[in-house]
């Protein structure tokens, strides 16, 4: 083992961690918002909305992110009407495109996860809320939302961890995050294993921290499911 080399590699890779984290947080945030919209459309009574949402989920869950990202970044730029539209100043930026395609993709998955959470909300608890005069957004905010979110949390944690790993693809569109930097180091040094093991350690630690945080959140939100405290 060449410790000097590993130390040097770690230093280089750690410098790219902020980029990975930025990609991750932004895409989770915007993907989550988009997912709410999609899931709202998916459960809507209007067949146009729900079919659009179904199609969206199908396309973004069914094809590799690599292809999606390629088409968003290199594909959109091929169309003159996009290149000359007001969007181009944004879409021109690789970082924006990377976040955009990550968010589009995770929204598809997250919408499905949220929907299964919605299905788990007991109809009877919704009726109880209606019967005291709750409806619309109040009902969603106070009753449906919290219960559905709690139910969706385990699956959502998995999705979040996958997103951390998915940011690795951003180097395809010239956003150099941890995996991209690792690959660049490899093509400079040809020491595949050492570099990749360092990268793996970084991802493992990131994911471990995130999973612990999610577990903590889950614990806090599941007081009502745990055994009652012993009255002794």
């Amino acid at each position: 083992m060449d410790f000097v080399f590993i130390l040097q590699t770690m230093k280089t890779l750690l410098a790219a961690v902020p980029m990975t984290l930025a990609l991750f947080f932004l895409s989770i945030f915007f993907g989550g918002l988009l997912a709410l919209l999609i899931v709202w459309m998916r459960v809507a009574k209007n067949p146009i909305l729900s079919n659009f949402a179904k199609g969206y989920i199908f396309v973004f869950r069914g094809s590799p992110l690599l292809i999606q990202m390629f088409l968003v970044f290199y594909g959109l730029g091929q169309f003159g009407f996009i290149r000359y539209s007001f969007l181009w100043p944004f879409l021109r930026e690789p970082f924006v495109c990377a976040v955009l395609s990550l968010a589009l993709c995770t929204a598809g998955y997250t919408a499905e996860i949220f929907r299964s959470g919605l299905r788990a909300v007991p109809v009877k608890e919704i009726e109880a809320a209606r019967s005291i005069g709750m409806s619309g957004f109040l009902l969603v905010r106070r009753i449906i939302g919290p219960i559905a979110f709690r139910h969706a949390l385990p699956a959502y944690s998995t999705e979040i961890v996958m997103m951390v790993k998915s940011t690795a693809l951003a180097s395809l569109v010239t956003v150099w995050e941890v995996t991209g930097v690792a690959q660049r180091l490899i093509s400079q040094t040809y020491r595949t294993m050492e570099v990749f093991l360092c990268a793996a350690a970084i991802y493992l630690i990131l994911n471990f921290v995130i999973l612990q945080a999610m577990a903590l959140l889950e614990h806090r939100l599941s007081q009502h499911r745990r055994a009652a405290p012993r009255l002794s």
Partner: protein, 266 residues
Amino acid sequence: MVHEHSIEPATATVNRLSVRNIRKKFGSLEVLRGISLEAHDGDVISILGSSGSGKSTFLRCINLLEIADDGEIWVDGEHINMIKKHGRNVPASSKQVDHIRAELGMVFQSFNLWSHMTILQNVIEGPVHVLKRPRAECIAEAEALLEKVGIAEKRHAYPAHLSGGQQQRAAIARSLAMKPKVMLFDEPTSALDPELVGEVLRVMRSLAEEGMTMLVVTHEMNFARDVSNRVVFMREGQIDCTGAPAEMFSGESSPAFRQFIGNFRG
């Protein structure tokens, strides 16, 4: 004692609740076939009937969890407006629906407490978020209510940690916290063991004594006979007969009702 197949005129006076000629179909199944009923201040009306006779559906139509295909409903003198849409009845204003529901307390057979909230949170949820009253005031009232139904010490527990009888009483407290004009109970004791039945009935009895207007779907003949001031017997989506409990149980009722209470050795 009246055999009640005719339509009562709905006089919008001191009637807390007035229902006229309610009909409801599920697909081709006619579950309610013209039900009319009036409840005055302080009335405690027991609704009896065999399984599938439409008792739950009737209560659910009153607080608009189901929309009746036909008929009129007044709550505390206010008429619930309906319009036809695609040939189906729908409430004219969802604002009115919410407001009417807030005036009607409903206690479900299966409690339906919100599992992610403590008992106290369950009770203050409606007053704080629907009626938009100050939180501190609501908490004080909620604690008094929980005291009254006898589960004050459980206020910070979650529903899953309570016994059935305690959950049922919490559900009653939750309804009462909305200060409803009328309480609707759907088989409030059928899932409870005999001891818990006693607890819940005690609470309902005290409500009756305070003059709360109540409609109670129940299988508890003792309650129907001793607590309510009127008994309604439903059969195949219609009111088969109705009257004061003393008359009904003493035999001055329809043959179907006599057969129904056959097993009951009051």
